[in-house]
Symmetry: C2
């Protein structure tokens, strides 16, 4: 692949989804081949028209290709990274590998990442009044229950990303509430130590 240095990733320091993309890049040893552009989410920059042109869903991260095409959604960006850089396969090679990895990825999102995110944004102060324009506390609490009930032994990459990222997000309020989800969230079978190759060079 040519012009790798012209790939741009729009992200926000310390947020969990940008960290997932950085982990994928780290696995490919390609972190230094991408230009990162900070988006000031706390000031609502992601909801401004200039950013919505890149991603109508108004979320980070967004990958911008040299041709101008923009890719949103972590797992879609990971597909691009996995098929563009050499090294270990992240999304699988055989039909069975691809299907199993894709399924586990979706389960980790639905049962853990999305559930915890919905709890945070709906049943805690979340990102604050200016950004949390609608909250449904009951739904948030229900998602908290789901996260506790359904967190699966994913091999825990998603767990540890969650713990590391959210734990470091001192810009986020309501963190005390977040940890109340379950002390046992920390009991996930952490096959990956906090100092592992996954996180050593990933800014969270």
């Amino acid at each position: 692949m040519t012009n790798l240095n012209k790939l741009k990733i729009y992200e926000a320091r310390g947020f969990i989804n940008p960290a997932r993309v950085r982990i994928a890049l780290a696995e490919k040893k390609a972190l230094d081949q991408v230009e990162f552009v900070e988006v000031d989410v706390m000031k609502g920059e992601h909801r401004q028209p200039a950013f919505r042109v890149k991603n109508p869903s108004a979320s980070v991260p967004v990958l911008e290709l040299e041709c101008g095409t923009t890719i949103a959604e972590c797992s879609a960006i990971t597909e691009y990274i996995d098929h563009s850089f050499p090294g270990v396969s992240l999304t699988g090679k055989t039909a069975k590998e691809r299907a199993v990895i894709h399924m586990m990825q979706r389960r980790a999102e639905q049962n853990l990442l999305d559930a915890v995110g919905l709890y945070f944004h709906n049943a805690t102060p979340g990102l604050g009044k200016d950004l949390e324009t609608y909250q449904n506390k009951e739904w948030g609490e229900k998602q908290r229950e789901k996260a506790i009930r359904l967190r699966l032994p994913f091999g825990s990459l998603e767990c540890i990303i969650l713990i590391r990222c959210w734990g470091n997000m001192n810009l986020l309020r309501g963190m005390t509430s977040l940890w109340q989800i379950s002390p046992s969230l920390l009991d996930c079978p952490l096959q990956i130590s906090p100092k592992s190759r996954f996180l050593g060079n990933v800014r969270t």
Copy 2:
């Protein structure tokens, strides 16, 4: 690939997610190479221990490989189908194709299929009292608003699947409410006619 006739798909007649997998198989001209097994969702068969062994998330469809491995999540099953059968590529070949298709798939799920499903299960009688053990009407209504606001011109495969499947589900109650989402849901740019190759041999 060998032993294609030993693939099994557990599904439920008329539901939208099984139809998505059938469409993928139809595109690959492989509908007749899979054994379909009906799961009686209206009687809660998907929540019984025998089925949860195959899919702890208790949802259909589930693909069972000859080796016994089970794959849940529509998009994961589509990955398997796409990489196992010859013919048109469903998930893309280049890095950019894979990323764009994956992104649009996620947007179609989040903004349309999931949003409409959450509305149906939370703000209408849904599948009835026995199966809808928790409902949050306010959240359901919010998802209805989201579906109206965010439905995108996906090329509308997802739109037409939705309309066809849900329209045919006479086993589902509350359909009148569903159609109240927005008459303009029918205004989606239907690039695929109801008699297209996508739906001609797909049971919905």
